[in-house]
Homo-oligomer: 336 residues x 2
């Protein structure tokens, strides 16, 4: 990505939008890299690109998939992706893993994962963007989802690492949030944080094969009992089982996703959910940018560390320290 | 509260601080009203008042008390307050009820509650501040807590309505968060939202008297079993029972609070918790003020409704709308 003068941003965005729309995979990857950039000139181009692509977005099934490490997420997504590609769809897999920067390499970005799926012309797999915060990772993933839709991908899978941080962010950007479970005891035993199961529109017990088949049946029965009253609008949350490894039950999962799509399109729930997600996205973008700009402001940076230390030591009232710093930041707005 | 010129703010604050420190109850009530005001000139005076009082704060036991409606919170707080006043303490009761504005009158502000306690010279009861948002109510309550401490109250009870919104905010401003339970089934049956029990440093089953005594024993045993592994640092969360109505077991609750205080003072956990709370308070004050000022900015207000409608309709990318509005707000900062 080379530096661009402001007047070139619109032209570059138009060119890139055309290439993305034509199905050029390198252009798609380049567009997502542009979106992930934190440089101000890249951001202007990214906004122009997204504006150009917007009319061609929204026509996909947006799926969130979560589950604890070891549940077989990669195996499931590969089997699932190959199944829906076989039905004529194009599948993009995006990851949300806010830990990927800290660990110096995301498990979700591992090139050895989903080998068969990654070879498919109708599949596109993108690891988690490097971003310091979950918010940053989430907003870039939302935009990458739109770019993939404009590139003709009609099934978008957004995957989380499933350790309790990112599930809410992913549930807030998809049409259907699916939780993968192990054939084992309750969610606490499986290490699933409280509140995550309630986010799910669909629960699937994986590894329902061989020695674990009977345990899987019990787990399905247990969760059906526990979730009997869990509804999202008119949708009653189903509990299914599958074996991603043996490719058993994947078709039922896809059919159930289709039922959810049909119901929520018919009753307006999908449109309402997407509208609410867009509004929440607007406000989170505003909030995060405001706080970023505040932190970066020279007059704030000059005293932030000292005032923060005084606040934690109890020698300055937090609100007073906030007002001091805010005064410096806002006084320059000339009456904001 | 009359309008004040900026130069009078410091003088007024000094006068009011002196009166609060001397134990003048009308000054205490007036100081809290000042803090709850949203007027800019009042805010400046409030900051000066809090700065003057700060050296005299921090010497109380800060308790959060929550429980679903019907659990007997008022009865408990009254019995508890009278018990600790009998031991020579001064008790302030503050409420956090973000719904009080919507319903046009807080149940927590009901004058008929805690009649005996409200007659005590060493008790001060303050209903929830009227505030549009939980954040606004919470920050005013944190400051009211400091004013009460400076006025010599050494036990501060912060009460929540217990319907799942405000518990986290209250747990984030106290030393010990207590959950009152009914003698009945599990927390789901009692209508307690997920995650609330995990916030508790102390669980107390109320109404352990008469016909309910046996049920209360079962509930205590059930929660002891369920919370056997729940620790906050070195503190293992106790499950007690009491009858606030018959004034049974209140002494044990207070003694247990004393054990928590002794342990967390000795191991530094209380100081660490207060420092973390102060830092979080600083950042929430900054975030909320930034977004308030953003919403109120004329150039933002001019187009916010239209852009928000476009975003929810899917005709404008949320990030692009955010950047448009942020540009107008931040461009006037001259390089923020």
């Amino acid at each position: 990505m080379t530096d661009t003068a402001p007047q070139d941003a619109a032209r570059l965005a138009t060119q890139l939008a055309g290439a993305v729309r034509s199905g050029d995979r390198r252009a798609l990857a380049r567009a997502i890299t542009l979106i992930e950039s934190t440089r101000a000139d890249h951001r202007a181009t990214a906004d122009a690109l997204l504006a150009a692509l917007l009319p061609y977005t929204g026509n996909s099934v947006r799926l969130g998939i979560s589950g604890v490490p070891g549940v077989g997420k990669s195996t499931f997504i590969e089997a699932f992706g190959l199944h829906v590609i076989g039905l004529g769809h194009k599948v993009a897999v995006l990851a949300v893993d806010p830990s990927s920067q800290r660990t110096g390499g995301s498990i979700l970005g591992d090139k050895t994962r989903m080998v068969d799926l990654s070879r498919e012309a109708n599949a596109f797999i993108r690891p988690s963007p490097a971003g310091a915060t979950l918010g940053g990772v989430a907003r870039r993933t939302r935009e990458a989802m739109l770019v993939c839709e404009a590139a003709g991908f009609d099934v978008i899978v957004v995957e989380t690492v499933g350790v309790g941080q990112s599930e809410t962010a992913v549930a807030d950007m998809v049409d259907l949030f699916m939780l993968l479970l192990l054939p084992a005891g309750g969610d606490e035993l499986q290490g699933i944080k409280k509140g995550i199961v309630e986010l799910a529109d669909l629960v699937v017990v994986n590894k329902a094969d061989g020695d674990l088949a009977a345990t899987a049946r019990h787990t399905v029965a247990d969760y059906r009992h526990a979730l009997a009253l869990l509804r999202h609008g008119d949708w009653r949350v189903p509990v299914l089982s599958c074996s991603a490894f043996r490719k058993i039950g994947i078709d039922t999962v896809w059919d159930t996703i289709g039922e959810h799509k049909a119901l929520t399109e018919a009753n307006g729930a999908r449109a309402t959910r997407r509208a609410e997600q867009a509004r929440a996205w607007l406000w989170s973008e505003i909030r995060e940018t405001l706080i970023d700009r505040f932190r970066a402001h020279p007059a704030v940076r000059a005293d932030l560390a000292r005032l923060e230390a005084e606040v934690t030591a109890g020698t300055t009232i937090p609100a007073a320290a906030a007002h001091t710093l805010l005064g410096r930041f806002l006084d320059q707005t000339g009456g904001a």
